[in-house]
Symmetry: C2
Subunit: 332 residues, 2 copies
Amino acid sequence: MAHGGGGRLTAQLISKIFAPAFDNSFLAQQHDGALLRVGKERLAFSTDSYVVRPLEFPGCDIGSMAVYGTVNDLAMCGARPLYLSAGFIIEEGFAMEALWRVVQSMKAAAEAAGIVIVTGDTKVVDKGKGDGLFINTSGIGIIEHGHTIAPVNILPGDVILLSGDVGRHGMSIMSVREGLEFETTIESDCAPLATPVMALLEEGIEVHCLRDLTRGGLSSALNELAETAAKEIEIDETAVPVCEEVRGACEILGFDPLYVANEGRFIAFIPPGDTKRALGILKRYSVCANATAIGFVRNPSTSTKGLVRVKSAIGISRILDMLSGEQLPRIC
Amino acid sequence: MAHGGGGRLTAQLISKIFAPAFDNSFLAQQHDGALLRVGKERLAFSTDSYVVRPLEFPGCDIGSMAVYGTVNDLAMCGARPLYLSAGFIIEEGFAMEALWRVVQSMKAAAEAAGIVIVTGDTKVVDKGKGDGLFINTSGIGIIEHGHTIAPVNILPGDVILLSGDVGRHGMSIMSVREGLEFETTIESDCAPLATPVMALLEEGIEVHCLRDLTRGGLSSALNELAETAAKEIEIDETAVPVCEEVRGACEILGFDPLYVANEGRFIAFIPPGDTKRALGILKRYSVCANATAIGFVRNPSTSTKGLVRVKSAIGISRILDMLSGEQLPRIC
């Protein structure tokens, strides 16, 4: 199970089995999607399968998640999302009404995200050989600017912006799954992120890299990027917004919010001079209302290459490791 | 289960649940993939999930099938396959060696088909919530000619070419699954079809429509196209090549080869004047060595719109209906 958790074992599975077989310059980008050239155009292409349990949870369901998740991966490539495919693997006996609700939710999400579902596929597997419904979506986006937004472009001195508070999606799923009741319901942050990202690009912010925070949370995203870019990253723990409900639930359950999954948050690497203007642009959008700078990139020494440091409230600096094992299985 | 069989119930599921929600001009094409415009380029985009059981069978496995299946859908849009995504849903406990074999098979298949796997995703589900391995692939192809190859362009008088003998894939799976032993092993016809299709287009054959034969076999493909194009189709049963092993197995098991699944065969609708030249081109490729003309398209009366007729060996004409219910579940 931990091989699917988005942490160290997922990274190992990719580096041991998939990367050697499918070795090419596109996968070597280690990006949320592939940056491609098709004829005269630059495109982004991304895929994700969604196996989240339960299928419906506060603030979201598998349908809107399957749309927003892939839309967000395209946006993280600096691409304007255009077209989406949808592949359904349905377990025999899955209720038609439930399928109908999911499909309606996908329809609404696609409209909200400005993407069109253009092609699809349906397979049915025997009872006991699936889990209700799995959905794969793949997306195509167009890159309308001249920049390459990718981990390799992260520079020493870059400021790291975080688009909002972390941990909502993971704790929302957790509370439903475990039947926990808090004073207020924790809603998933599941949301489309292309509009604020396109605004940053259109207004000329020099975006070096983008990454949405999903499985493995903020810490895994930072660790992946520090490693791919061969840089050192330092963040200020007190600068990372965590809402009260998520903080409380994490304390009770023994989770670190930096490792908890999100579905509507991203980090952006930009030159320090653009920080104020970029935050001003992001804060225009409600999904980025709590956007803030959380850290920066350092030129590493040989021993600190790929390292992520976090400075705590009392000023102590510790190493923020990648998620080991699994925290919450089937979170997306 | 029958909702996934590729026959009448699959068509109902699409028309009742998916089509009303995702109503747009792309899905309305009812094609193997979507024909899109991205900037200055014309693209095809297609997706398929593969849930075949068993994962390995004579002549093919889920890995090469997942590559060839989507490559073929792109080719049927008249597109040159360029890029592929791969999404893996792995059941907890699935052997790493088996995953390795499948991935190696995908690598070889992608090389053979001239497509590059550029982006991927891996999810792991609990034991008992999957069935070893499901794979989704989505593909992007470029359309380099000015024609639109689609069901709507089928014309009365068009000749229907079939690229080879039918029924191998379905009977191969069936014989493995049921532990049947025939004198010779029936191998799946699973193969990439883009090269012969590109040759037809490059040599100026006026191709009106293409369709690969998968779930539901030749009969479902003909019925879908007759319906979408609102035409009448007539084929000559004796002209449809069926190899001796498949014919024998079908007789023993009570299957009609016209309904049995294929993974490396297609039909092409072309003007009658191009027939001889098109067959000459196809026969250059071993995968199309048995290509032949099997029928033609008629302008229908009100009552014969969407009808497929088949003329038997003794000259009797009967209606070839779409597959009802399921014949072989999880064939792809």
